[in-house]
């Protein structure tokens, strides 16, 4: 059974792979945005590890999940502005990856 921190890190890796795949299809660079999101997920996982055992930890997990989704979604909007309509598929894929992991985070 993976820890919640491991689940978040895994989400970051999956999002990076998905975004990189789409970027290659487009012949465009998506690396800066993807890495930004992955770094953000790692930071949230680190913050979560500090909150283990504190009152309200479950709320902290949900807050971290929300923050990751907001960050990934915000980045997706910016990238969609700059590249191609196809990226909205990437954005949706990224979100669905995290959404699939939500039950493990709660």
């Amino acid at each position: 059974m993976p820890t919640k921190e491991q689940v978040l890190e895994e989400a970051g890796k999956q999002i990076l792979m998905e975004i990189s795949f789409r970027a290659n299809e487009l012949g465009a660079s998506f690396d800066s945005g993807a890495e930004d999101v992955v770094r953000f997920i790692s930071a949230k996982a680190a913050e979560l590890s500090l909150a283990v055992g504190q009152p309200g930890f479950d709320d902290a997990v949900i807050a971290a999940r929300d923050s990751v989704l907001l960050k990934a979604a915000g980045r997706a909007v910016l990238e969609a502005e700059g590249f191609d309509d196809t990226l909205k598929e990437t954005a949706r894929s990224s979100l669905s990856i995290v959404a699939k992991l939500i039950p493990l985070l709660i």
């Binding site: 309200g56 902290a60 909007v77």
Partner: protein, 135 residues
Amino acid sequence: MNYKALFPAAIVITVGCAGQTAREEVLVPAMRLASHGIEMDAEAGVNTLPAEIREANRAIVARFFDIIREGKDEGIRLDAIGSWGRVRELAELGVRAKLEDEIIGDEVASLLLGRISDFDKALRAYITRSPAMVD
């Protein structure tokens, strides 16, 4: 959302429209999901206010999150943006109150405050194209 139905429109969609599509299909759902926790924080903040202004502030909070969950572009741009500053203050007040009452720990509070900040950035990303808004 029926994405297949969007395909013919996607052929003629412009880059700018792609951004709007991402807003509607990705950003709004993310804000909608995050709204539940932030609303709880804001309600906790409302409960710390003097009784005579509590209901007015509660109405501001309720209206704001109704608009976010409705997800309509006009409502977000014209109405929600104007009240977000107050809602944010109340949410942060609520987190601090929960911390003082030892309902949550300090690291938990940090994550809750982080979510409020990230929601703020997402809302700004919704209304602007500036990359700085989500960094």
